[in-house]
């Protein structure tokens, strides 16, 4: 049997790729001869192992929370269903949280899909484009009238989420830090903000008002719109405290002003304009 019996390089690669992907397909005699060699297992195992390794590197809190054997077994199913699409494996696993949400065996591991979502948010924050953090003094210096028309732009690395059904952020934090400190977990909803204001990703809690506020900012709402959304989600929200918290966390990169006349947004503090 000769390898050159493949009709073309592309035919060889099609056959090899299908075999590696575990597709049940009739092997040509040429491919059967390759697969029968003991060394073929190095490739067959290698592509799966490297993808699972990448997923484990990208979802360390899930692996710690679920345990490595469970994680790698679940990851095997995911890899078969959704192999990597690009060689930058740091990006692999965008749909892993959604996969876990529907993966029946995951139901036994509390909040595991949410924990996966937080791991993914960490990765996205980690590799997001660079941007300066908005100096809180810029906001403090605005008069109330200007402030109501201001639009705060979330930092490109900022990722936030609300977990209505329990302490996903607490579980994630403990497992990301590789602690097994399982003092009693509460049942209250939790919000989380992950952002990379300077060198590294930081994470912290969000309350319901802050979560609603950030959502509205991300939609392009003015500060007045965002404040309204925060109060609607949590009527007891202290807006001054909310602003201090989010600005200190580095959640915003820019502030612009919505014009009354033409709705254009311009950077109020663009040094090029001064």
């Amino acid at each position: 049997m000769t390898a050159s019996a493949f009709t073309s390089l592309a035919a060889f690669q099609d056959a090899l790729a299908r075999t590696l992907e575990g597709e049940p397909c009739a092997l040509t005699p040429q491919m059967a001869a390759l697969v029968a060699q003991p060394g073929f297992a190095v490739y067959r195992n290698g592509v799966v192992k490297h993808a699972i390794d990448a997923l484990q590197a990208n979802f360390p809190a899930v692996a710690h929370w679920a345990g490595e054997p469970w994680f790698r077994a679940a990851a095997f199913h995911y890899v078969r269903q959704t192999p990597p699409r690009v060689p930058m494996l740091i990006e692999y696993g965008a749909t892993f949280p959604a996969f876990l949400a529907c993966f029946e065996p995951a139901a036994a591991i509390p909040h595991v899909a949410h924990v996966a979502r937080l791991d993914r948010m960490w990765t996205e924050a980690h590799i997001a484009p660079e941007a300066a953090v908005l100096d809180p003094a810029r906001v403090a210096g605005l008069c109330p009238q200007t402030l109501s028309r201001a639009v705060l732009h979330p930092h490109p690395s900022a990722r936030w989420a609300w977990f209505a059904d329990g302490p996903a952020f607490t579980i994630w934090s403990r497992n990301r830090d590789r602690t097994r400190e399982l003092t009693a977990l509460g049942e209250d909803p939790e919000g989380a903000l992950l952002v990379r204001p300077r060198d590294g990703v930081t994470s912290g809690r969000l309350d319901a008002g802050e979560h609603a506020f950030l959502n509205r900012c991300a939609e392009g709402g003015t500060l007045a719109d965002a404040a309204h959304a925060a109060l609607e989600a949590a009527p007891a929200t202290d807006l001054e405290r909310l602003m201090c918290h989010l600005l200190a966390a580095g959640a915003f990169s820019r502030i612009t002003l919505r014009s009354d006349t033409d709705q254009e947004i311009r950077d109020e503090h663009d040094p090029r304009g001064s």
Partner: protein, 284 residues
């Protein structure tokens, strides 16, 4: 030709601080290009900091040069930008494929060495070199299966790629040793016939025996110290071709930085001895 480079280390993230602080003379560092293809953040900052301190080599794993398709333009553009930012001393890739019809198979998959493949791969290398505006080096793969009736011997195939495209070669001595063992050919003969004038870089690494088949099937696992036989092949290679930039790779069971540095120092000692002692015996 970056003749100033001596011994280098493949950088692992856990060794970043140690590598940055390392004052070993002539140290250079190699990174997998794909790990630094990010929009921003610490990875790019680490690379910039390292580059400010040491020469850096970019070693790609994702261009899929041996696929029967041109390199993905988006990926090539990412590499171009990284090369532009990093100004690396060396850029290298593999004689292998991994991207195929929109799926990335995270391994270095085997190549049919046919004339049609040669034409395709030469074109792919040329496209990369045109985009990067520089020559790259191509690494010989580790072999685990026999692709019978290849039209070209590997050394001839690599030499022809170098002749057609002006690319260099990256001689992975551990891959030679592993492949010679697995496919039952003579590693020494391979080292003695590789086209020395094209070799721009040497890789040294450890390997492991297959759990089931033992030493009948060696795996290029980069998870152990470099074995004596690979050191011997390395000595044979530099005795023949003269010193070349030489990299120590370790990707699993990664020891402390100093242990890797000791392997690198051993390579440097051999390179120095070759440089100062036996210059007159350089092969033509």
């Amino acid at each position: 030709m970056p003749t100033a480079l001596t011994g280098g280390l493949a950088l692992k993230p856990q060794h970043f601080d140690a590598a940055l602080a390392c004052t070993a003379s002539g140290l250079w560092l190699e990174v997998h290009a794909e790990n630094y293809m990010v929009a921003g953040g610490p990875r790019r900052a680490w690379l910039a900091a390292l580059r400010a301190r040491h020469p850096v080599s970019l070693h790609g794993v994702g261009l899929s040069l041996a696929a029967d398709a041109p390199p993905d333009p988006a990926h090539l553009e990412r590499l171009r930008q990284l090369v532009q930012c990093t100004d690396p001393a060396l850029v290298s890739e593999h004689l292998a494929w991994s991207m195929w019809r929109g799926t990335y198979h995270p391994d270095l998959l085997p190549v049919l060495r046919t004339t049609a493949a040669l034409v395709r791969i030469a074109d792919n290398i040329q496209r990369v070199q045109d985009a990067l505006r520089r020559s790259i080096a191509i690494e010989n793969p580790a072999h685990y299966i026999r692709l019978n009736d290849s039209e070209w011997a590997e050394i001839d195939f690599l030499a022809e790629l170098a002749r057609r495209t002006g690319c260099g070669l990256l001689l992975d001595v551990n891959n030679v040793y592993v492949s010679a063992n697995n496919l039952a050919y003579c590693a020494q003969t391979y080292i003695d016939t590789v086209p020395a004038q094209h070799v721009r870089e040497i890789h040294l690494a450890g390997h492991s025996a297959d759990p089931q088949l033992g030493t009948r099937l060696l795996i290029d696992s980069h998870d152990a110290a470099i074995c004596g036989e690979v050191w011997s092949l390395f000595k044979r290679a530099i005795a023949r071709m003269g010193p070349r930039p030489t990299l120590i790779e370790r990707d699993a069971n990664v020891p402390c930085f100093d242990e890797l540095l000791a392997e690198r120092d051993r390579a440097c000692t051999l390179l120095d001895a070759r440089r100062t002692g036996t210059r007159e015996s350089v092969c033509p």
